[in-house]
């Protein structure tokens, strides 16, 4: 088990290292370099200034050299300065991380609850009307463009009814718990709908598979209470694939959060990365993207571990 963990951890580090180089290289291929930007904002810079700044910023060095220098600093926690936020990239990132964590956490839990309830209800009687309805809703949920869903929610609840704020995170001078919730309502709803719709299909499939097993028949034949059969025996068995899929869906949740945050002007990581890329904030974009990759990799690792822990049949020799 320890060897398995270590080897998986090593893989995570390796993928992260490769990704950091790839992303570093890609960002360098984005239009404009930092000097171009300075020239745009200050047209009075002279040719000598340009050359001096280029050397100062190390832009005359080859890519690998710059990457290694950046990597060495990053390992010590120095991800450079954010151009847009005029503070260290990490300090710009951290408060956003908390916001995104809240948004994703709430949506994830809600979606998981809904998916579990609906998936089990559907799996109980496959082919029933309820099953068809749930399937239709789930298909609708995975087929709706998330930003359009967000727009429609804004149109109905913020613009027409005026019940909920259309964006932002807190109102001035309030910032209390209720206020936070009011601002979270629409983004969380958007993300939850999309997320629950895709999860429900996995839960249903896993439950149907579990209910087909012999021991379920045995339990039923013995006259066990149907609720116990469902929630006890079957669910426990179905949990393995469900947990795996949930953990794997984390990366997707991140993409969903990016869209949701942009629509609702919610100051989270996703929007930060988007703004950083569009705003040519190289350091911030790099730090944000790497962080997103790390979170996704860790979620996958968690899936592997959960799989190993729950399912004793898997061996790790």
């Amino acid at each position: 088990m320890t060897r398995f963990l270590l080897s998986r951890l090593f893989q995570v580090v390796l993928v992260l290292a490769i990704m950091s180089f790839v992303i570093y290289g890609l960002i360098g291929l984005m239009p404009g370099d930092p000097i171009d930007l300075m020239l745009t904002s200050d047209p009075h810079l002279t040719a000598a200034d340009v050359a001096r700044l280029r050397t100062l910023k190390g832009l005359d060095q080859p890519l690998v050299g710059r990457y290694l220098a950046w990597g060495a600093a990053a390992l010590q926690g120095d991800f450079g300065y954010s151009r847009l936020y005029v503070q260290p990239a990490v300090s710009a990132l951290l408060p956003r991380l908390a916001n995104t964590g809240l948004l994703m956490g709430m949506s994830f839990l809600l979606a998981f609850g809904i998916a579990l309830a609906a998936g089990i209800a559907a799996a109980k009687r496959p082919g029933s009307r309820l099953d068809s309805l749930i399937s239709l809703l789930s298909f609708s949920g995975i087929s709706v463009p998330p930003f359009w869903l967000g727009l429609m929610l804004i149109l109905v609840f913020a613009v027409t009814l005026g019940w909920l704020p259309a964006g932002g995170i807190v109102e001035v001078g309030k910032g209390g718990f209720l206020d936070r919730l009011r601002h979270l309502a629409l983004p969380v709803a958007t993300l939850t709908i999309v997320e629950a719709a895709s999860q429900v299909r996995f839960v249903r499939a896993a439950m149907i598979e579990a209910l087909r097993q012999d021991y379920i028949r045995t339990a039923r034949a013995k006259g066990a209470d149907e609720g116990r059969v469902l929630w006890g025996h079957a669910l426990r068995n179905a949990m393995i694939p469900i947990v795996t899929v949930m953990a794997l869906s984390f990366g997707g949740l991140f993409s969903g959060a990016l869209v949701t945050e942009t629509i609702f002007a919610y100051p989270g990581m996703g929007k930060l990365i988007y703004d950083a890329i569009l705003g040519n904030d190289f350091n911030l974009a790099l730090a944000g993207l790497l962080f997103a990759t790390l979170v996704t990799l860790l979620a996958n690792l968690a899936a592997d571990i959960a799989y190993a822990v729950i399912d004793p049949r898997i061996s790790y020799a």
Partner: protein, 546 residues
């Protein structure tokens, strides 16, 4: 259910404070590091420049006692080594000016600011200003003398010289290279000693809002709101929703919705708010590359301008709030000439001019010249700017009608400004110049400012406009102190512009202020200095519930 009801309850801002909605959060509060519109807007309440343009577009003193002039002997011409002329200016800081912590503002602060500004590694933005100031010395605690290496008619303004508190910032400047990271404006933005305006910043929630409260050391009229909150809502559509919900009181025009959005909002809720539209100095135009084989023919440029219905664009898309531009000088500027040649929409004339220029319609709908080349051009603008993308498609459709095919080639602002325009790799590019009142167009129209590989692409005359007469007019107007004579030079320059059309003028942009009916005293300026520089005059009159 109780929770649900509580969530649904609308919220209303506190009754005595003023909540201003803006679309951007300032990246820094240090006035010298990043001069963003959002930063200027907030700092307008908390600090004041030495000089600025007032709402009537004349130069006034804010932190100083008197605008220098030759008459009051605060300005005198000096001879510079190479036979050039410079100017020496004497400013006196208001005797009652004190930082928010009670420390008087003195020449020590001014000298410190100069030291920071001059330092090559301090990372400040407007290095040019400090480069031009060749000497600065203190006469006493309140009076200082400044020497500038260039003599121009607008010598008296030092609008962008933003004084820094030496007693606070000195420590942060210990390592100049790290100054932009360590400035107290960012590490300790609520420090009262950083501000001296009618308000000072008392709370900052990064990315969300900024709270300002009255500053006890303020010397002028007592501000009337006990609290002003500047709330950032990045999505302009939700700015509106927040306004309707009552969680913000007003939307700042400097950082507000586009004119189309404001008009749409006015159409629906016009009676509940005051809508102020202020046309300004932002000049939307299409720069034309004068070295382009087709566009270097003046007649083609003129035909292109005759071929677009700018009036329809102005009235239909912008509700008439953004006037058609006849030249690069806005109508509000006193040097604007009203008797210039204009180019009203006249597709027949456009076709005739193109015929004359050798571009004939061969029946395919697109004109060709004698060599058989098609009249196809490219128009670039900033991708993602909805207004420009719309206008672009209108132009494309209208030019099609006079037999000109235009390909749209949009690029992100970074590429467009950072590379395409600077390196002059374009045929036509639509964007805006923003300028100060009576801003001499040296950087955009003087032939010495054409960016090229030889000068590392410095300069903004990206059309490649070369005219000896224009060069000489620009050179002369900069040093012409007589208003009447200068006006004549301006007039001639505008005549040349409308005849040669190095760029196709479109319209002047407006800002839309959406204010509550009870708020009085807000005066949009129309130039780049924000309305908050007069925030102490803002009053609530007949505010419901107060």
């Amino acid at each position: 259910m109780a929770l649900f009801c509580a969530l649904m309850a609308g919220s209303v801002a506190a009754r005595d404070s003023l909540v201003i909605g803006v679309s951007q959060f300032p990246p820094t509060f240090n006035p010298n590091i990043d001069t963003s519109t959002a930063g200027n807007y907030v700092l307008g309440m908390a600090r004041r420049p030495f000089t600025t343009f007032d709402t009537q577009w004349s130069l006034v003193c804010m932190l100083c006692t008197e605008v220098p002039s030759f008459d009051n002997h605060r300005a005198e011409i000096i001879e510079l080594p190479e036979g050039k002329k410079g100017i020496r200016l004497t400013f006196t800081i208001r005797p009652d000016a004190r930082w928010g912590d009670g420390v008087p503002i003195t020449t020590k602060d001014v000298l410190f600011t100069y030291e920071v500004g001059r330092h090559p590694k301090s990372g400040i933005n407007n290095a040019e200003l400090y480069r031009r100031i060749t000497g600065l010395s203190a006469k006493d605690d309140k009076t200082f003398v400044m020497e500038i290496d260039k003599l121009t008619f607008d010598y008296a303004g030092i609008n962008d010289f933003d004084v820094l508190p030496e007693h606070i910032e000195r420590e942060a400047f210990a390592d100049p290279e790290q100054y932009h990271n360590r400035s107290r404006f960012d590490t300790d933005p609520t420090n009262p000693g950083l501000y001296f305006g009618p308000y000072r910043i008392t709370e900052v929630v990064a990315g969300s809002y900024i709270v300002l409260e009255p500053n006890p050391t303020w010397w002028g009229e007592k501000p009337s709101f006990p609290r002003i909150v500047v709330q950032t809502v990045e999505n302009t559509a939700s700015l509106e929703a927040n306004l309707l919900a009552g969680s913000i009181d007003m939307i700042a025009g400097e950082l507000g919705p586009s004119i189309e959005q404001a008009l749409a909002f006015e159409a629906r809720r016009g009676k509940d708010y005051t809508f102020l539209y202020k046309e300004g100095l932002i000049f939307e135009h299409i720069d034309v590359n004068l070295d382009h084989p087709i566009l270097k023919d003046k007649r083609v440029r003129q035909a292109l301008l005759y071929g677009i219905d700018r009036k329809a664009i102005s009235t239909q898309l912008f509700g008439g709030k953004q006037p058609v531009a006849d030249s690069f000088v806005p109508p509000l500027d006193w040097v604007h000439a009203d008797d210039l040649k204009t180019y009203p929409y006249d597709p027949d004339k456009a076709r005739a001019v193109l015929d004359e220029a050798g571009w004939r319609d061969d029946g395919s709908g697109i004109r060709r010249n004698a060599a058989g080349e098609r009249l196809t051009l490219e128009l670039a603008t900033t991708a993602g700017n909805r207004t420009r993308e719309l206008v672009e498609e209108v132009l494309q459709s209208q030019w099609r009608k006079i037999g000109v095919a235009v390909r749209l080639k949009n690029q992100t602002a970074r590429i467009l400004f950072g590379e395409t325009i600077r390196r002059r790799n374009f045929s036509m590019a639509m964007f805006a110049w923003s300028s100060a009142p009576e801003n001499v167009p040296r950087s955009t129209l003087h032939s010495s400012e054409i960016p090229s590989a030889a000068n590392s692409y410095v300069g903004q005359n990206d059309t490649g406009f070369r005219s000896e007469e224009a060069d000489s007019l620009i050179d002369r107007m900069e040093i012409e102190f007589d208003r009447e004579k200068r006006n004549a030079l301006w007039h001639r320059l505008q005549e040349i512009y409308v005849e040669e059309l190095p760029s196709l003028p479109l319209y002047f942009r407006s800002e839309a202020y959406i204010l509550p009916k009870w708020l009085k005293g807000v005066t949009p300026t129309g130039h780049q200095y924000p309305s908050t520089l007069w925030v102490e005059h803002w009053r609530a009159v007949g505010r419901p519930g107060s």
